[in-house]
């Protein structure tokens, strides 16, 4: 595993560094939402999405199905296989 090429902590003000941590979480959440939607549109199964995200199928389904339903995408039983 290599280190990501980010600014070194000793060069960074904690005010900026800690804000950046939160911003990265926001960005990761945003990307997760966008790409899960894309995967569902491409007919990926929840199991495959879960494996790609390295979480359980239950976790990914619980987190994303309400929003997908809200945008009119039905995430029914057939995806559970």
């Amino acid at each position: 595993m290599t280190n990501v090429g980010t600014a070194r902590p000793d060069n960074l003000d904690p005010m900026e560094g800690l804000r950046a941590v939160v911003a990265l979480r926001e960005l990761a959440d945003q990307l997760e939402g966008d790409y899960v939607l894309r995967a569902i549109e491409l007919d990926w199964s929840w199991a495959r999405i879960a494996e790609a995200l390295n979480v359980t199928r239950q976790a990914v389904h619980k987190k994303h199905s309400p929003r997908l339903r809200a945008v009119g995408i039905e995430t029914g039983r057939k995806r559970h296989v």
């Binding site: 090429g5 005010m15 804000r19 950046a20 926001e26 960005l27 987190k63």
Partner: protein, 154 residues
Amino acid sequence: MFERFTRDLRSTVKRAQDIAKFDGANAVEAPHLLIALTRESTGPTARALELLGLSEAAIRDAGDRELVSALRAVGVSAPAGARSVTSSGRTNPRWGQSAKLALERTLEIAVERADRSLEARHLLLALARAEAGIVPRLLAELDVSPGRIEAAFD
């Protein structure tokens, strides 16, 4: 705490929830409270916000710039279309820590001033009291210092 909120402040808080939900955010955070305040049309807080140039559009633009600059600080360039809100699936956003702190400080400020009811202006002053996190950076982006906010009510 909520029982001491004026009806206007309660509707501001409710509006912040609606804004967070509409944005598809995970949580109601301090910027949602700030945007909710800008949707008041009358009263001292609406006048103060106008004086400070804190419109909803200005706050949202500054939020987008702030996110990009926050990521750039650690060497990450935000992808095109990165937003300052997230959408990872909650239909009813929870209360985020920045918003909870702002509401606690709203009470503190009213107590300090010996004001019996909690009003929108207390919330705006409370938001400006944040020591770290997104709000101070957002206000700096908008060139609005906490002192200027205090002065806008004089």
